[in-house]
Symmetry: C2
Subunit: 879 residues, 2 copies
């Protein structure tokens, strides 16, 4: 029989997939003898079963839960619903991957009309017992039974008013008792039955609620953003309650073994005296620094420092711990490898190597490639910053600088970002519902909450700049205003925030690129030594090429030549070319474009200092270069300029109109019909290479890439033009130059017939943007109409344009790579779609044996690190 | 060393691939002792070498040609350029497949200033000799050297005028000598050198010209139309000349062993006394019937009848022969299996079986599936025909009836046909340049030429109705009028012609479907017994379903449900559905559509009489159902009808606008977003099946097909809706019904992940229209902009939308079939793209193991026959 329930003492850290992260670590801490309130974990497999069985928990699982419960009661010496010594538990989710705040938690479960009396006796604190009971009723009703919180809050307000109480703390035990009665009435009114008095019934409902919460919309969104598969499921941890809110010798807190923001090696954390754990995480009260605990409870502090050291040594990584002190006794509630900023991740990884705790390979694996993104994000321009004056300071919750327009709700921030605006999301505090708006913002500013508040944790995970707990900030969400001192922000006003310093500015401060040295350089040098995959960049101008080289690009994998033609001086010649009626006219116009294109190539060759460059020939449909039909003035001007009529131009626009431009007259189809375009481009590529060779001594071997090939014969035809022209140019110049002609693999037919295509192609570059569109049969521009429904219905879990669809598109890539090598064993294989900068896709490219990935300049370090991950995981047999 | 040249006596009929059809049969006739003017064949491999070697003939090949030439001279006892006994040859193309008139021929080669005297001496006919010489100079100049004919014709006219001659025949030997001198002057003026006097030089140039002609535009077009690969190349036959134009005991002709039009078993043919072979084929003089030769030259006739019998028995098929009589002696110039009409093909095949000459399998293979098309083409409505009065009669050159508007040039006919007009092409006579116009015409009418004229041969090949040699017809191509008696036709006037009777009508006569019995039924019954592949039809209404059943369809493979929604009464509800703002509104509109859809399904189930039907769910983008944005009146009416505003409708039109509708919000994506549509359609399918079962007793197992699936989860989702709804309907009705849910495979990703898709899909139907578009990455609507260039440059040789691209798209089909069977061994596999009616594609479907093909009703017999071909060829190990 499958074991679905494990006591903490039965598990260990290696059982993460089955027990979830939290459950596995509770088991591990139990194993190494740390003080952990005992309990048990219902496995992720039970969650999967729950969904398979039509959202019910099978009898066999129920039985195992009851058995574990009985065993735990015995260990703790308490009993569910007992008048003497009532057993109370917390019920928490815990997936394989951390999903902070995404799923549900229920505390104080086990309280009923009897147990509450037991608790009062035991603690000699009736008010505490009934306060706990009313909290439990509200939490159970809200989380498990979906009765809106507001019903309960209204009762609370009502009683406070009646009693003349300002705060909850002004209410006494009798008030609490009354609240309990009223809360139970609400429950009965809403659900038609009494509030459940049987703790076992409470427990089963709570476990189901946690299972259900795996599939709530914000959890789904979080998974999509973090590439967490929907079929993993969550485990449920049922743990004996300890109370941090039993007076001044009680408390609760979180701490890190190193600073999660900078990586500095010192205990870093917070606690609240007389509070429950959720109070810290929710960020409602601002907590004390952990160091001060040394004064308040020196023994507990010493014990905690020792435990922290034990855990870091044991896990060989920075730990993020939760703990509770119940009447002077320390309990560990959780430990896990701590989330950290990119800078901290780098520093910790490098430090751990230097401390002799881990190898460089392990250090590389400790830094998530995606995280690097935040390091490469802009910082404020130093000069501009000097002149700027901060108006407030909050917690430096997630580093980087942001400058944008203020928005007050996640929805509005999202909407504004989608129109291209830069947005700073300003909130009293954030909650899991805000996650999409946070993802779209440049920066996040909150009035409440600490370094471990929701806003701070999530922003760090996203690599988004965040200033949290800015006490000077007043937010009026209804009026859509924020006030700091006498500065009032309205929606759309500019604001700048610095997540590394916590400073807030009432002005737009320009930002500049980050520098890349120190720990970054150290770790990247390890990564470069470890990786096998080359990393190139997609760049169309000398500036981008230079930036990419700075970030470690080993060449250009995709230079889109058409981007060069959109500039005002050039588009005129381009349009003349398009409007030509004869080949001769076309050649005249192309002759005008040649010097521009050649000069661009020369600039890029120079920026690359001898590194290779792949030049893709003209790709977009020609109508993209013409004015739209309704741009009357522009058409008239164009007609005048070219000495033609507006009618002729409009006729050409009509002629070039396409029903499905994505699948129209573009790519190499242009060169097949107008070979003189490929001739001009070849002349530009070769002449530029020869001249740069003569001027700078770089030995350049141009790589000429023909786009949108679907059939070897079309490549052969265009290659014929290219080779012939190149030979002619070399003869003219009296210089020999090696060059390669290859193709994009971006049409399914090219992938399927790659063995034939490789007869002509000397290299393949997978254009996974178009390949994804055609393999899925939907266009990126149109998919918005239905992708929402696809995510909602869990048909797709990640955006196939951001993360390579390894199952479908990837199969074609793999097939093409194999077929290509069959024909031409030394064929060079690369990828130049946007997936080239996505870590999971980079790993895939390594796995299927590509030679390099090419991505945007800012993603080059990410790709280098991801490539190193792939090589190391492969070495470890884990890829 | 490769042998590139074969003497006729070295070859045989089995060497068709190497020697071409003509060469192989000349060798075979030589082998069985028939009177064949001797010569040799330069192989198709030499042609391929010619192109590989940059359009030159390798030295080794030249050597072999000269050796064969010397041997032939010896056999014939003649010598090139000899004064006594000059050796003259014809040089003709001859590919593996017959391509009549597509490539070049040169006659009388070997004539020079010396040989012409020898010919004059030998024939004692100086005028004949110089006439031959001047014809050769002109032919050589035109065909080999590309000097336009008009230069020579001008000289001829000039001399005729000078001599007061009306016809060529009025010119005497001296006139011919003068013409020769003037022709040689033109040659020198145009080419800068003397007309080549060395017959070997003439020969090599002529051979090269034939090789070159393999790639002329009309040959390329013909190949594309007839699926002949471009890399086959043509052989060249060099054959000793015999002369049919040496007086009244000479002649030339063509004949068939059976009537190529009806299949009747009797010698059928024509001849011209005192003429060269090209005169017959060109149709310039109207020839005598072969029977009359019995009177003119009884011995020759008897010999010919014997030879014809020998050849038919030898080849076990109807033969098409060319022969020449030189001064009373019969020479066979060619034999081949004769082209024939579909009706003749059927009759001959069935007769040959009845005569015990061939097996039914052989009979099946003798009928080209594509040919059946003409049999299934409409005939005139009998009643209408009774009232119609013919105004002229020509030769019944290719059967079937046609009714269309008169056009006088191939270009204009093509242009008109492309705008959707039905066209009758009226010409004095046709030439190979007209081939595209002929392909687009409903019928062809010519004033000149016999049953073996260009128009007649090509039209029969195409299955297009043709009336040839209509003597009463006068055509003024410049004025664009045709006159028959006192009826004058202008461009665009209606005309009807009957290719089975030769009658011409000055009116539009409605046409009706052909009947399918007799030989047709016999052969098809053999085919049905032989084939393994099922044949279904694509039909969307009861009428088409009934027609298809008549033609042998075994069910419906594709019922496109959206076609039912475009009718006026229905589109209103459809639009209401699209414009709905809530699910409730959508359900109200769908409820209005339900009765229509159900009634349609019932009609089709009844027409099918229990045969299976595959229903495809709503597929097109919704904007197709809305008026265009500029249709203001229609939008206003719609707004009024639906009680909404024009603004709202325009907003919806904007919302539904797509950049690439082919790759947009359509197919199952509609059902994923609006599952209530799939619910309604399921209700219609199941209720209709239950009611027809109750009313007619047919036991119907509906096959529900979800379109545009790319990922198994989207199929699973929609299937869930379908199954749930179907169960509900069956419960309501208290009737159980087996049904299947399957999917189209029309998106590359579905093909690549077919193993997963098959977990949900109970059948696959390959939608090769869309699959071709997405695999090639071009849309059918837009490909016109570049496909021309692709054909010109030999990148594509056939239209991938007409003939399945086996190399690319076919690979995906094969892969999907294999993967699908892996998961679900009994999965049913079909194809419902237009390729389902294309014979070569049907053969492919057999080969990769599909269960059935589905095609338009009129193509059902073609598919049945093609499926039989595939099964028989497979049995013979030839597939």
């Amino acid at each position: 029989m499958t074991k679905y329930v494990y006591l903490f003492k039965e598990g260990n850290a290696g059982m993460r997939n089955l027990l979830g992260g939290k459950g596995a670590n509770l088991a591990e801490m139990t194993k190494i003898g740390l003080p952990v309130p005992q309990g048990f974990t219902v496995t992720t497999e039970a969650c999967t079963r729950y969904y398979q069985d039509g959202k019910t928990i099978g009898d066999d699982i129920v039985e195992q839960i009851y058995a574990a419960l009985a065993e735990t009661e015995k260990v703790c010496g308490k009993k569910f619903g007992d008048l003497e010594n009532p057993f109370l538990v917390s019920v928490r989710s815990g997936a394989r991957a951390s999903m902070p705040g995404m799923m549900d938690t229920i505390l104080n479960l086990g309280l009923n009309d009897v147990a509450v009396k037991g608790l009062a006796n035991l603690t000699q604190n009736e008010r505490f017992a009934y306060d706990s009971y009313r909290r439990f009723i509200q939490m159970f009703s809200d989380v498990v039974m979906e009765i809106p919180k507001s019903f309960f809050e209204r009762v609370l307000d009502d009683i406070k008013e009646k009693k003349g109480a300002k705060y909850d703390t002004d209410l006494n035990a009798d008030d609490m008792k009354e609240i309990v009665v009223r809360f139970k009435e609400i429950y009965k009114e809403k659900k038609g039955v009494e509030f459940p008095q049987d703790p076992k019934e409470q427990l089963m409902e709570a476990i189901k609620a946690v299972f259900r919460s795996w599939d709530n919309p914000r959890a789904i969104y979080y998974r999509r953003m973090n590439d967490i598969p929907g079929d993993w499921g969550t485990a449920v941890n049922v743990q004996s309650m300890v109370f941090g809110n039993m007076g001044d010798t009680s408390g609760t807190g979180v701490a890190f073994t190193r600073d999660p923001s900078t990586g500095e090696k010192k205990l870093y954390g917070e606690y609240l005296i007389n509070a429950q754990g959720e109070d810290v995480v929710a960020g409602i009260r601002t907590p004390q620094k952990i160091e001060t605990l040394a004064q308040v409870m020196p023994d507990v502090y010493d014990q905690f420092v020792k435990i922290a050291k034990t855990l870091e040594d044991h896990y060989r990584d920075m730990q993020d711990m939760e703990y509770t002190i119940e009447r002077g006794k320390l309990y560990m509630l959780q430990t896990r490898n701590g989330k950290r900023t990119a800078a901290a991740a780098l520093k910790i990884a490098v430090d751990l190597v230097n401390e002799g705790m881990i190898t460089t390979d392990e250090a590389i694996l400790k830094v998530e490639p995606k995280q690097l993104d935040s390091l490469l994000h802009p910082q404020f321009d130093a000069a501009a910053l000097k002149k700027a004056k901060e108006i407030a300071t909050g917690l430096a919750a997630s580093p980087g600088a942001a400058c944008g327009m203020v928005y007050f709700t996640a929805e509005e921030a999202t909407a504004a970002a989608k129109t291209g605006k830069k947005v700073v999301l300003v909130r009293l505090e954030t909650s899991p519902e805000d996650i999409e708006g946070m993802a779209h913002a440049q920066g996040i500013l909150t009035a409440r909450g600490g370094m471990t508040s929701h806003a701070a944790v999530v922003a760090r995970g996203m690599g988004t700049c965040c200033v949290a707990g800015c006490g000077a900030l007043r937010v009026d969400e209804e009026a859509k205003t924020a006030t700091i001192g006498d500065v009032v922000f309205h929606e759309g006003d500019w604001m700048s925030i610095d997540g590394s310093t916590g400073k807030v500015y009432a002005e737009a401060i320009p930002t500049v690129d980050a520098s890349v040295s120190g720990d970054f350089a150290t770790l990247m040098s390890w990564a470069d030594a470890a990786r096998k995959l080359g990393v190139r960049t997609n760049a169309d101008n000398p500036h981008d090429a230079a930036v990419a080289v700075k970030y470690g690009a080993e060449g250009i994998g995709l230079c889109r030549t058409e981007h060069m033609f959109f500039e005002a001086t050039r588009i005129a010649a381009m349009r003349e070319m398009i409007l030509s009626e004869t080949e001769e006219q076309r050649r005249v116009a192309l002759a005008k474009l040649l010097p521009y294109q050649k000069a661009d190539f020369k600039g890029m060759y120079k920026a690359l200092e001898g590194r290779p460059m792949t030049v893709r020939y003209l790709d977009p449909p020609l109508h993209e270069f013409l004015p739209a039909k309704n741009m009357t003035e522009e058409i008239e001007a164009l007609a005048k300029e070219l000495g033609t009529t507006t009618d002729k131009i409009i006729a050409k626009i009509d002629e070039l109109h396409e029903f499905n431009p994505m699948m129209g007259f573009r790519g190499c189809r242009l060169a097949v019909r107008y070979p003189e375009i490929a001739e001009m481009q070849t002349r530009a590529v070769i002449e530029a290479a020869i001249e740069v060779k003569q001027e700078d001594g770089y030995d350049i071997h141009p790589e000429i890439m023909i786009p949108l090939v679907g059939e070897v014969k079309e490549l052969a035809y265009v290659k014929g033009i290219v080779v012939e022209t190149a030979k002619k140019v070399m003869q003219e110049k009296g210089v020999e130059l090696a060059f390669k002609v290859g193709t994009m693999i971006e049409i399914p037919r090219a992938a399927v017939t790659a063995d034939e295509v490789a007869k002509e192609a000397e290299f393949f570059s997978f254009g996974t943007n178009d390949l994804t569109q055609m393999t899925f049969g939907f266009s990126r521009d149109d998919a918005g109409k239905f992708l929402g429904a696809y995510y909602d219905k869990k048909i797709y879990e990640s955006d196939p344009f951001a993360r390579l669809d390894q199952n479908g598109v990837g199969k074609l890539v793999e097939m093409a790579a194999k077929l290509g090598k069959q024909t031409r064993p030394d064929i060079k294989l690369g990828i130049c779609g946007e997936h080239g900068g996505d870590p999971s896709s980079v790993m895939f490219c390594h796995k299927v044996g590509l030679n390099y990935v090419s991505c945007s300049p800012f993603r080059v370090p990410i790709a280098r690190l991801a490539a190193a991950h792939a090589a190391i995981l492969e070495k470890q047999g884990q890829l």
